[in-house]
Symmetry: C2
Subunit: 333 residues, 2 copies
């Protein structure tokens, strides 16, 4: 393709992407006008926006621009999962330098939207010095039980986590290690509960970890099941398990005492506690039987009970040891 090809002009790219997307139902208008027109089915709306920046949230020397597109969509959807809502519509603003393959970026976004059964209904394309994707999700949620907030956990509630923690951070470590030509690097075991990688199929574990980083999945069905099972507070593990659980504890005015953590195969304890990017859900709920029944009824793997909420907001412990608020937070000068 020659430089300045008409095929790589803004409106041509939008046309191409739009033709690959499913069209709207009667009465709605999606891509092609100044704004999308939607017909909510009733109930309350959820609205959330999330920005993914190359070099900050995803290193394009380690993952493909298509992966960045997928990640941007999945991360945004994860916020709707953390409310227990149903994600329905996405609008996406995407930008990148002239060398960006906007079609491949679109491939990843379209694949992630289809995987999570959401419709891309509008967007904006722009030039920018670096690849940046801002995804906004509109979701819906019923009235009873309503959205699961961060601040509703009560002392005595059990704490649950879906899936396992640390895989994405382990995957990023592996990608970095391979890019640096340093070969396979073992996680630093800082705790005896760290998995013994030598005992398992290393290649399969590595591939799973890298996939967890490249193609995270928003736990939408899990979030909805947790809401129906009486979850009192919920958050997604994006910045890091310890810091995200800390948000729940702070908002709810409770402490926590953890007994066990489902650490992903090949991940270190530090990666599980502070790595972030897992997009698993952490939630509090009083009744483990209801939780198990709701997840089972939806055909989902049961979440792990990791501990409980305590009355003392200063208590943040794992097996009696304080848990530092490990995780990511952007800082300006």
């Amino acid at each position: 393709m020659t430089a300045r090809s008409p095929a790589n002009r803004e409106f041509a790219i939008i046309d191409r992407l739009a033709r690959r997307l499913p069209g709207p139902p009667a009465g709605e208008i999606w891509i092609g006008d100044d704004a999308a027109v939607l017909t909510p089915t009733g109930g309350r709306l959820l609205l959330s926006t999330d920005m993914t920046v190359a070099g900050v949230h995803a290193d394009l020397t380690l993952v493909d621009v298509e992966d960045l597109g997928w990640r941007a969509v999945a991360c945004a959807l994860s916020d709707i999962a953390a409310m227990g809502g149903r994600a329905r519509h996405l609008v996406i603003a995407a930008a990148g330098p002239p060398s960006t393959d906007m079609d491949r970026l679109g491939d990843g976004m379209i694949a992630a939207a289809a995987f999570h059964e959401c419709a891309i209904v509008g967007g904006d394309l722009s030039l920018a010095p670096e690849v940046v994707v801002a995804v906004t999700v509109v979701g819906e949620i019923g009235e009873d039980p309503g959205p699961v907030l961060r601040g509703g956990a009560r002392r005595g509630d059990l704490l649950f986590v879906t899936g396992s923690l640390g895989a994405a951070a382990a995957g990023l470590r592996l990608l970095r290690s391979r890019a640096g030509g340093e070969g396979h690097e073992m996680p630093t075991a800082t705790d005896p509960t760290a998995v013994d990688v030598a005992a398992v199929d290393v290649a399969a574990v590595d591939a799973a970890a890298i996939d967890a980083y490249r193609r995270p999945v928003a736990r939408l069905a899990e979030g909805e099941s947790a809401r129906r099972a009486g979850a009192t507070a919920m958050i997604d593990v994006s910045d890091g398990f310890a810091v995200d659980l800390g948000h729940v504890a702070e908002s709810s005015g409770v402490g926590f005492s953890l007994d066990q953590l489902p650490i992903a195969s090949g991940a270190s304890v530090d990666e599980a506690l502070g790595g972030g990017d897992d997009y698993e859900l952490v939630f509090a709920a009083p009744d483990p039987g209801r939780v198990a029944a709701a997840f089972d009824g939806a055909g989902l793997r049961s979440p792990t009970v990791i501990g409980r909420c305590t009355a003392d907001p200063n208590q943040r412990e794992w097996a009696g040891t304080p848990v530092a608020p490990q995780g990511w937070e952007h800082r300006w000068a």
Copy 2:
């Protein structure tokens, strides 16, 4: 403020901005959880997203980061105006390098939201190599008349434009000229209808043009009045009047014949035709009396009748001369 001050950490900045914003009505949740919870009042929803990138849409050597924040919000709202809708809620993803004054960026966004009577209900802050702001607007629109699309213009419909054209481009030219130390630069008159700047108060004209560029206004009330007055097609002048009117003509399958254009004082014809960034509305409507009555009833200045839609889709003329599709379009390599 010392570098790495805790006051410039992500969560502290969000807290500070959130405290300055009005809170939600009963039953809604705005900033502070994973997603905002909204209660639509019925009717259809409008959804639109728009990205503003420093160095692409706004030059931070010419305008303040606060202006960029204002512009990002106003440009996004303009898409809702172009549907004839009512803008209600905004979510904003903002990013910038470590040196960015995120509070001043927030000042501009908060001021623009308040000016346009919209609520900022959520957002995301991130580091990025350049300042980028993605604003998503949720609006509402009644059923009768419904949203004004681009493709509904019919031959014989009159064409209208709100306000005047070219002021923002003239303002940008003035800012560039001042930054370059070249003093006051007159517009190149490429047409005898260009305004004679020497005859008017140059300082006031310059200030108005610079303001039009720095602080554009989304014509929300005008868009709603046009919709109520039976507008058949509408678009906002963002990429450039000629290219934007071209979108309407193409979508509607009509041509256009223009008689006159309301060129802003101090702007050249080229700036009016192709400068973009004006955020005035161009619309087609069959009944000028209804349009005048609707605007007058809403206390708005009457839009200018600039010409009419014609049957031949290849006819795009101004006073018998072809109008080239001047304007902005991003291109990738």
